[in-house]
């Protein structure tokens, strides 16, 4: 506790290293919050940009954080959720220029019931276990797409399959993985927005 107080004091003096030490244990969950409730992103970079925007806001809002009113994780979650809501509004304005199927699907899914606070680590662990169980080709394709960030065309070229086969495979593997992760973690992934 004394260590946390020391770090908060350093943060008040503008020490971003101290701030980083405070938020480090919660980074994955905060990023997952953006993933689960932020506007649809086309890449991890966009998601991370948004998460970083929120954390920079948090860093600059030290005056609003009162340790007596709750844990830092809850406060950070609140800052991120607010940023995510604003991002949704920006995204919807942008959407007027171009239709987007993903955004529309999330709109149709509606807002979540209850608190937005996913515990990400069990999900990531469940995901790793489920990845091990994938068929060889599907597993390789998923890793090529998400870890190596190859496009559909690049994957088709590497695996000597047609482009439609790549997208169909990615879709099926993704859905199978989701169901596996949900059954292992007990967490239901919802397609909602804040």
């Amino acid at each position: 506790m004394a260590e946390q107080e020391r770090l908060i004091a350093a943060w008040r003096r503008g020490d971003f290293d101290a701030f980083l030490q405070l938020v480090r244990p919660h980074l994955v969950s905060l990023r997952a919050l953006v993933v689960f409730y932020g506007p649809p992103a086309t890449s991890l970079w966009e998601t991370d940009d948004l998460a970083q925007d929120a954390l920079i806001e948090a860093f600059q809002s030290i005056g609003q954080f009162d340790p007596a009113r709750g844990e830092i994780r809850s406060w950070l979650g609140g800052v991120v959720r607010n940023r995510v809501r604003r991002a949704w509004q920006e995204s919807l304005r942008e959407r007027k220029r171009r239709q987007n199927a993903v955004t529309r699907a999330m709109e149709m899914a509606g807002s979540p019931e209850g608190k937005l606070d996913p515990e990400a680590r069990p999900l990531v662990e469940a995901l790793r276990e489920c990845l091990e169980k994938l068929p060889e080709q599907g597993g390789k394709m998923v890793r090529a797409h998400y870890a190596e960030r190859l496009s559909g065309e690049e994957i088709a070229e590497r695996f000597k399959v047609t482009l439609p086969a790549v997208y169909v495979t990615l879709h099926r593997v993704r859905r199978a993985l989701r169901q596996c992760v949900e059954s292992r973690s007990g967490f239901r992934v919802e397609g909602v927005h804040p």
């Binding site: 971003f16 980083l20 980074l27 990023r31 997952a32 953006v34 993933v35 932020g38 649809p40 992103a41 086309t42 890449s43 991890l44 970079w45 966009e46 991370d48 940009d49 998460a51 970083q52 954390l55 860093f59 239709q99 987007n100 199927a101 993903v102 529309r104 699907a105 999330m106 149709m108 899914a109 990400a120 999900l123 990531v124 995901l127 790793r128 080709q137 998923v142 797409h145 998400y146 870890a147 190596e148 960030r149 496009s151 559909g152 690049e154 590497r158 695996f159 000597k160 399959v161 997208y167 169909v168 495979t169 990615l170 879709h171 993704r174 993985l177 989701r178 992934v189 919802e190 397609g191």
Partner: protein, 754 residues
């Protein structure tokens, strides 16, 4: 594509943000009309984010935090904007083309280009180089005089002084370039990702210039040394005035480095006196080069027997022999067989991306002008050191391996066959540059082996093959009847993915007789009569139709084996109940019983026979008749399968008296109704797998069901049967298919069984 697949395709593509406007509208319509579809898709999209987060993190776990730290630092104080630039230099925005870049980030950064400062630095270095070159003394004539092979030679002390001066200038230039190279290397070290590629390209350019300058310096030093020698010589008697010669100055004073032994198509000989079309037989001296601009080919031979073959589009320049055989391979591809070189006199192929240093081996080098493709070195035998230009890194490339010196590619030795073992399941792969004809004997040297035609009938004349797992090679032997009379053996080496001719043809074959004058078997159409015995490592060959002036001379029951170690044919004359080995029988080797199982097709003495390799003994087990079928051994169950002409028959080889069992199978009628196809067992997927052109068929011995694998890219089948030219290759877990001497070798990998 079915409606369901079409929808899955759109859903899959949407999450990669790769839909075009029409597809987006189509998917929107589908979502609007089905709320449950939309709900599931929204969940997929959220899960897509989690996958990006979890798997993206695997590649670079600290990236987010580093980037956040940099942005936090930049956000402090009134100079936040300037600091954010600093942060972005430390952690530049990513720019993979396959993912849409963040628009928000761009807005904040005000169009900042992170690669700009180092690029400016690199440009500065290049400008520096340009200045150095522009400030060089424009004394071409003296430089020409100093160039070896030039018609002018320094012959007096003033010229020696000039040579010394030029050498000193060149040393200074090299020194400056080395300094610039060092600076560029430092910039390269500091650079990241995309920036690194740009810096590497700039660095490569500098390294190339440094190399050229060093070569020029070496020539100048040589010229200076020569000038010194001339200057210290006693002055000759002036009594006889030498008449001026009208003949060209004597490049012949340079020693012959190699000979242009053979040319095909357009080949150019480049020397200091100009360029000329090569005819073959020319002597190549120091400084000479050879270019094969079009679809031609050239072969250089060195005095020690080393030869280098230049393929189409190849430029090999500046041949030297000082300090070992040296040449500069600017582009294209060469294949070389290098005899053992002295340790301090290695053969070196310098390329724009690195040096291949050879002491004695067989190798292939391909140079692509694109620095990202670079120089690829394949080593078939021996060991070659590949040193990269960009840094002092090198790798020893052993036989059966390759390495690439190129921008952004790790310099390591990889198995050549890894390209096959890594191929996608349920796909075909073509191995380029693998026409068997390339290693066929020179027809002009063996006029008597020609039948109706030449090498093409090694395959087209109902000829088979067998896979030798110990040598990791597919063996081909064929010809015979009136088609082709050459009895040479071929092997496709899977380790190096290339053909090799194991034997030369007997020049004067004894047509119509079993044995040639040199003790080798006469050429024959081998059908399904080939197998490889693994212990000892030999080819088993029985039956078929022999070469002759008529088309129906059966080879009979003389068994032949070829010893791969000794590269020699033997006729073992086994005892026991020999099969007549009539047309069209089939055989397979079972490694457990160490026997070749022979399915006899002669009506007068039919049966299942086995040849015991250890006892050199034939045994007749049944009197069943076979006809035009192909066999394969399921090594897991010990079953011999004979398939074709509408039936699947199995014998249990683990029983003392194997008995014929007819299998009822489903889904493969179109395949098993044929004959003379290829058939083999894949132990990795536990399937009997057959191919006769078009789709591949696999039989699950547990369910007795055939599966059709219609993957694209299958080669056209050979008109007169596939036989043993379709074989399972354990080392790459794929099937090899050879269909023509003028067609590349193909591989097929089965889908992974569920």
């Amino acid at each position: 594509m079915s409606d369901r697949s079409r929808l899955e395709y759109l859903l899959g593509k949407a999450l990669g943000a790769e839909l075009d406007a029409g597809e987006e509208a189509e998917l929107l319509r589908a979502l609007e009309s089905d709320a449950s579809l939309a709900a599931e898709f929204a969940r997929d999209a959220r899960f897509h984010g989690l996958l990006s987060l979890a798997l993206g993190e695997e590649q670079n776990p600290d990236r987010f935090e580093r980037s956040l730290a940099a942005r936090l630092k930049a956000s402090q104080g009134d100079t936040a904007f300037l600091r954010s630039l600093e942060a972005k230099i430390k952690d530049p925005p990513r720019s993979r083309p396959s993912f849409r870049p963040s628009t928000r980030r761009k807005g904040r950064a005000g169009g900042w280009r992170p690669w700009l400062p180092p690029l400016i630095a690199c440009a500065g270095v290049l400008v520096g180089i340009a200045l150095v070159f522009s400030l060089r003394p424009a004394n071409r004539s003296s430089e020409d005089a100093a160039r070896p092979g030039s018609s002018k030679r320094p012959e007096s002390p003033p010229e020696r002084a000039k040579a010394e001066e030029e050498r000193a200038q060149a040393e200074e230039r090299v020194s400056r370039l080395q300094e610039q190279e060092k600076r560029a290397a430092e910039a390269l070290k500091a650079a990241t990702d995309d920036l690194k590629r740009k810096a590497e390209e700039a660095f490569l350019d500098i390294a190339r210039k440094r190399k050229e300058e060093e070569e020029r310096l070496a020539k100048l030093r040589q010229a200076e040394e020569e000038a010194r020698r001339v200057a210290t010589k006693p002055v000759p008697e002036p009594a006889v005035e030498e008449k001026p010669s009208l003949a060209p100055k004597r490049p012949e004073t340079q020693a012959v480095v190699a000979k242009l032994e053979h040319v095909a198509g357009e080949v150019v000989l480049a020397s200091s006196s100009g360029r000329a079309v090569a005819k073959g037989g020319e002597e190549l001296r120091a400084g000479h080069g050879v270019e094969v601009p079009g679809g031609g080919k050239a072969r250089l031979k060195y005095p020690d027997g080393t030869w280098v073959e230049l393929g189409p589009g190849t430029e090999l320049k500046d041949l030297r022999s000082e300090g070992g055989k040296r040449s500069h391979l600017v582009k294209g591809h060469v294949r070389a067989v290098v005899t053992r070189q002295a340790k301090d006199q290695p053969m070196v192929f310098a390329t724009p991306h690195g040096d291949a240093t050879v002491l004695g081996t067989t190798l292939r080098i391909v140079v692509d002008p694109d620095p990202r493709k670079g120089t690829r070195l394949d080593v078939d035998e021996g060991k070659v050191r590949l040193t990269r230009s960009i840094d002092p890194k090198f790798v020893e490339v052993p036989n059966g391996h390759y390495a690439v010196a190129a921008t952004g590619i790790e310099l390591i030795a990889r198995r050549i066959s890894s390209i096959v073992s890594g191929m996608a399941p349920n796909s075909w792969m073509t191995v380029s540059g693998t026409h068997l004809r390339e290693v066929a004997p020179d027809a002009s040297k063996y006029p008597q082996v020609r039948g109706i035609a030449n090498t093409e009938f090694v395959i087209d004349s109902w000829s088979g093959g067998a896979f030798d797992p110990r040598g990791n090679q597919l063996i081909l032997w064929g010809g015979g009847v009136t088609n082709y009379h050459g009895n040479e053996l071929y092997a496709f080496k899977v380790d190096s993915l290339k053909w090799e001719r194991l034997t030369d043809p007997t020049p004067n074959p004894a047509d119509g007789r079993q044995v040639n004058g040199d003790g080798t078997p006469n050429s024959r159409a081998t059908y399904n009569g080939l197998a490889c015995i693994t212990n000892p490592d030999r080819l088993f060959a029985l039956g078929g139709y022999m070469a002759g002036t008529t088309t129906n001379v059966e080879a009979g029951n003389s068994l032949w084996t070829f010893d791969f170690a000794e590269k020699r044919w033997k006729e073992p004359n086994p005892t026991g109940s020999r099969p007549p080995a009539g047309f069209p029988s089939a055989c397979s080797y079972d490694p457990l019983t160490r026997r070749v199982w022979w399915c006899e097709a002669t009506p007068s003495a039919p049966g299942l026979y086995s040849y015991d390799c250890d006892k050199n003994l034939w045994v007749r087990h049944t009197s069943d008749l076979f006809n035009l079928q192909t066999s394969a051994v399921d090594t897991r169950r010990g079953l011999l399968f004979i398939v074709g002409n509408g039936e699947v028959v199995a014998y249990s080889l683990r029983e003392k008296n194997p008995t014929r069992k007819v299998w009822t199978t489903v889904g493969g009628d179109a395949f098993i109704g044929q004959n003379q196809f290829g058939l083999d067992y894949d132990p990795a997927s536990d399937r009997i797998v057959g191919w006769h052109g078009g789709p591949v068929y696999s039989l699950n011995p547990e369910t007795r069901a055939w599966t059709v694998h219609a993957a694209p890219g299958a080669p056209a089948k050979t008109p007169n049967g596939i036989f043993g030219r379709w074989r399972y290759v354990p080392s790459v877990k794929a099937f090899i298919a050879v269909t023509s001497v003028d067609e590349n070798v193909h591989f097929f990998k089965l889908p992974t069984p569920r």
